[in-house]
Amino acid sequence: MKKIDDEMMESLSVLSKLYLTEKEKEKMKEELWKILDYVEKLNELDTEKTKPGVHVFENSNVFREDVVENGDMCEEMLANAPAKKDGQYEVPKTIG
């Protein structure tokens, strides 16, 4: 098992969309390594022929008609927005 190195930490922080300080990185590296080392235990199990159990009950997809049932809640939804403008969410410029 490969130890979590700085490169891996960097890649995880990109995937997780999290900035970590150097100190946090060091601490996390150590904790993650400890946990991953511990979960190695699962390799003792022969699971070749076992199906992954994503859910307890094997529900198939549950569908419904694509009909809007709730009313217009524009105001209530926008009330929680960190920034809004003209009845819309406001974000920094994304296209140059």
Binding site: M28, L32, I35, K51, G53, A79, N80, P82, V91, P92
Partner: protein, 483 residues
């Protein structure tokens, strides 16, 4: 009778029969909150007075008009702060959602209100339900009412502390890996995690979606059954909700355990378990035997693989569920940023606490290309095998009995130093979440330091009624011996 000693159903009866007014019951809780909160910190928000008065009037009228006839009509309740309410903020004990007010009610809240409940506040918890001590809350740790030097457990620590201290008559919690049962054991209250899919998750802020279940926390077994009847039910807004045949959880609760086959997993009594808790389990087994149950100790396979399997799956699902917190539509947004990506990253880094970040990182790792098969799929395969072990056990036994936790409540400030050690403390509770099983924590005496001990009573999926019968029998047996 002093309201302090009354159960939710007793208060409900007094209210229905006109001996206590709804306003008096609420006033009683408010007074307890005022007195005890400075020490306990069990609540994040308490309902505004004006709103509360309006609701009290509504419920009193509803009871008079016969709209609210159930056992919980008019009884004040607290709700864990990861369950959405429109009249109070829902923070998940995180800076990320500090000012979030949900535009819709969670299905359980709708059901409670339809039954005439008065929601008095939202309870403190571990941030995003990630933790076993209620110390990772962005709003400060909760203290255990049985001994404020100790943690109340987590993540539903605020709900359990509030019920235990008399700040409310019952509460709702959520259980992903033991978050109802473990704090119930630490705080001397009864708590139940229903079978996965029994209670709608609509409006419950997601952590590990394939494990999360909402459940009752109360002063006794009958209350738990009554609350479960109120909140359970099929809901098409939660696609994992199950249509069950039976929802009358109160029915047959007093019918005893005669002939019931009860198994005790030997692996749950091995080293690492506090001696007094082991003795409590054995004593409970003896009492149940005296009441006519057949008791057998047996070996439950794969117990040591449950924690690794659980943490990999829970963190994977958490990392995916928490992607939605990006500072755009709701929640915290960082003050300074240059462009969109930086806004996402800064908002998340400043909004989430360390435990949450760690679980997101672990989850991102196990889901990432090159590691997905070796970790995430491996954990899911182990989960299938663990479920098969339980299937074997339930071919032989109606109910299983064991401890909830390896020790009684630890002192404040110790658990977070070593997260892995803290995760290992969930060894008896996570197996139920992996297999979707219902389980209950029942108060059963104290240890040498006067800290509460909990017993775990669990059964196969959809067999809540067997659990409740067993728990009720044990509760009665305890009361008889105390008299």
């Amino acid at each position: 009778m002093d309201m302090r000693d009354m159960t939710a159903m007793e208060i409900g009866k007094e209210i229905r029969e006109g001996r206590i007014r709804v306003g008096e019951a609420v006033e009683f809780c408010m007074k307890q909150i005022e007195e005890k909160e400075p020490k306990l910190n069990a609540f994040i928000s308490v309902c505004e007075k004006e709103r509360l008065q309006k609701r009290i009037a509504e419920v009193e009228q509803g009871i008079k008009d016969g709209v609210y006839q159930g056992g919980l009509a008019g009884v004040p309740v607290a709700v864990k702060d990861n369950i959405c309410t429109v009249h109070m903020p829902t923070t998940c004990a995180s800076r990320m959602l500090e000012h979030f007010v949900s535009p819709y009610q969670a299905e359980v809240v709708r059901r409670l209100e339809n039954a005439g409940a008065v929601i008095i506040g939202k309870t403190n918890m571990d941030e995003f339900a990630m933790g076993s001590t209620s110390e990772t809350s962005a709003f400060g740790p909760v203290k255990n009412p049985c001994n404020p030097e100790h943690v109340p457990g987590g993540s539903s620590g605020g709900s359990c502390a509030a019920v235990s201290s008399g700040e409310c008559f019952y509460a709702l919690g959520s259980d992903t890996g033991g978050s109802i049962r473990q704090p119930s054991a630490y705080c001397n209250v009864a708590g139940m995690k229903p079978t996965y899919g029994t209670v709608s998750r609509y409006g419950l802020i997601a952590y590990g979606s394939s494990f999360d279940q909402i459940g009752p926390i109360a002063r006794n077994v009958e209350d738990c059954a009554c609350i479960l009847e109120t909140i359970a039910g099929y809901d098409r807004k939660d696609s994992t909700c199950v249509k069950r045949d039976v929802y009358d959880f109160m029915d047959g609760i007093k019918s005893g355990v005669e002939g019931l086959r009860i198994g005790i997993p030997e692996e749950y009594l091995k080293e690492g378990l506090q001696k007094e808790i082991r003795e409590a389990v054995k004593k409970a087994a003896e009492w149940l035997k005296e009441c006519g149950a057949k008791i057998e100790y047996f070996s439950l396979g794969l117990t040591e693989y449950t924690i690794p399997s659980y943490y990999l799956i829970a963190c994977a699902q958490a990392s995916s569920n928490l992607e939605r917190f990006d500072g755009v539509k709701y929640g915290f947004r960082a003050k300074e940023y240059e462009e969109l990506h930086e806004m996402y990253k800064k908002s998340r880094s400043e909004g989430f606490g360390m435990e949450v970040k760690q679980r997101i990182l672990l989850g991102s790792f196990v889901l990432s290309s090159g590691y997905y098969d070796a970790y995430y799929l491996k954990a899911l395969r182990a989960r299938t095998q663990i479920k098969q072990e339980f299937d074997k056990a339930f071919a032989k036994y109606d109910v299983l009995l064991g401890p909830v936790t390896p020790t009684t409540a630890p002192p404040l400030g110790e658990s977070l130093k070593d997260p892995l050690a803290m995760y290992l403390g969930d060894i008896y509770t996570v197996p139920l979440n992996l297999a979707g099983l219902p389980g209950m924590s029942l108060p059963f005496g104290v240890d040498g330091k006067n800290l509460p001990i909990g017993l775990q009573i669990f059964a196969d999926c959809f067999q809540e009624k067997k659990i409740l019968r067993t728990a009720y029998t044990l509760e009665r047996a305890q009361q008889r011996r105390e008299q």
